[in-house]
C-alpha cells in the first residue's frame, strides 16, 4: 500500500485515470460522495488532487481495521477521503 503524501497522490491519481476504483457503501449511496453520484467527474477530482501539497494531506488508521490507512485531502473547499485495499482504491467521500 502506498505510504506518504507523494506515493498516495500518485496512486490515487493513477486509479482515477484508469477508472479502476470503487466507492465505499454502507448499504446505501452516500450523497456526500459526489464522484459516486456523478455530480463531479474523475478529471475534476484529479485536478483538485494535483493542486494538493503535503500541507493539504492527512491520514489516520481506519477505526475498525487499523492496518488500513484512511487518507484525507482538503483543498479549495473540497474534501476527498479514501483508502487502499490492494489492488483497489476506495473513495469514502468526495464533497465540497
Amino acid at each position: 500500500m502506498p505510504k506518504g503524501f507523494r506515493a498516495v497522490r500518485r496512486a490515487v491519481v493513477a486509479a482515477l485515470e484508469s477508472g479502476d476504483y470503487l466507492h465505499v457503501s454502507r448499504g446505501d449511496i452516500e450523497v456526500k460522495n459526489l464522484l459516486a453520484i456523478g455530480e463531479v467527474g474523475a478529471g475534476k477530482v484529479i485536478d483538485i488532487i494535483n493542486a494538493c501539497d503535503g500541507s493539504h494531506y492527512s491520514s489516520s488508521p481506519h477505526h475498525a481495521v487499523p492496518a488500513i490507512e484512511v487518507h484525507v485531502l482538503k483543498r479549495r473547499g473540497w474534501y476527498i477521503k479514501f483508502y487502499f485495499i490492494e489492488p483497489q482504491t476506495w473513495f469514502i467521500s468526495v464533497h465540497q
Binding site: 479502476d20 446505501d28 449511496i29
Partner: protein, 210 residues
C-alpha cells in the same frame, strides 16, 4: 476501466462486519443516503458475510446520476400560507401583472442563482431572521400564530431539479424547509432591501417568459 459482471468477486471493508470481507457483485436497488430516492438494479459489491452493499463501481455512476435526476420530477410541499402570500407579494412588486404561474419561474431563477453563487449556506440564518420578524409583527398586533397552510406544487425540468437537489445537498435541508428559506430570501431581496439589480433581473425574466 475494468468492467465488472454479476458473479465477479473481490475484497472489501464491511462497515457492518467491521472487518475485511470477501464480496461478490450483483444487482440491487440501493437507496440514497439522504432518503431521497433509489437507484434501481445497479451493479454493486455485496458482503458475503452479512449481505450488505459494500461497494459501488464507477460503471454504476451513470445509472445513479440518472436515478438521482429522475426522482425529482415535481416539487411539492405544504407551506404555511404566509410563505405563498409573501412569494406572490414579491412577484407583484416586480411585475404588477404577475400571476401564480410565475412562482415556478422565480423559484427556478433563485435556485440557479443560489447554486451558482454558492449562497446556499446563508439561507438558514436568513430564514430564521424572517421567522423571527414575522413572529414580532404578530406579537405587536396581538395576533395568534396561524395554522393555515397552502400547497405549492410544480412540475420541474431536469435543470431546475438538479439545482434544487444541489441546494438541498449544500444546505442539508428538507424540501419544505428549503422552499421556505428560498421564499424568505426572495422576500428579503425584493420586499425588504428592494435590491434594484435583483428586481431588474426578475423583470427581464418575466418579460422573456411572456
Amino acid at each position: 476501466m475494468k468492467i465488472l459482471f454479476e458473479g465477479d468477486t473481490g475484497q472489501a471493508l464491511c462497515e457492518h462486519c467491521q472487518a475485511l470481507v470477501a464480496m461478490h457483485y450483483t444487482r440491487r436497488d440501493v437507496p440514497f443516503s439522504d432518503g431521497q430516492g433509489i437507484a434501481r438494479d445497479i451493479l454493486v459489491g455485496v458482503c458475503d458475510g452479512c449481505d450488505m452493499v459494500v461497494a459501488i463501481p464507477p460503471q454504476s455512476t451513470p445509472a445513479i446520476r440518472e436515478a438521482r435526476k429522475q426522482q425529482l420530477k415535481s416539487i411539492e410541499a405544504r407551506l404555511p400560507a404566509v410563505y405563498l402570500d409573501v412569494l406572490d407579494a414579491a412577484m407583484q412588486a416586480v411585475c404588477s401583472e404577475a400571476g401564480a404561474h410565475l412562482r415556478k419561474l422565480f423559484l427556478a431563477h433563485y435556485f440557479q442563482w443560489l447554486v451558482q453563487a454558492r449562497q446556499g449556506m446563508g439561507l438558514q440564518p436568513g430564514h430564521e431572521a424572517f421567522v423571527t420578524a414575522l413572529e414580532a409583527q404578530r406579537r405587536q398586533r396581538g395576533l395568534q400564530t396561524s395554522g393555515a397552510t397552502r400547497r405549492l406544487s410544480m412540475k420541474v425540468n431536469a435543470h431546475m431539479a438538479e439545482d434544487f437537489l444541489a441546494l438541498q445537498q449544500q444546505t442539508r435541508m428538507s424540501q419544505t424547509e428549503l422552499l421556505k428559506a428560498v421564499i424568505a430570501r426572495i422576500q428579503m431581496d425584493v420586499l425588504e432591501v428592494r435590491d434594484p439589480q435583483v428586481i431588474e433581473g426578475l423583470q427581464r425574466l418575466v418579460r422573456v417568459a411572456g
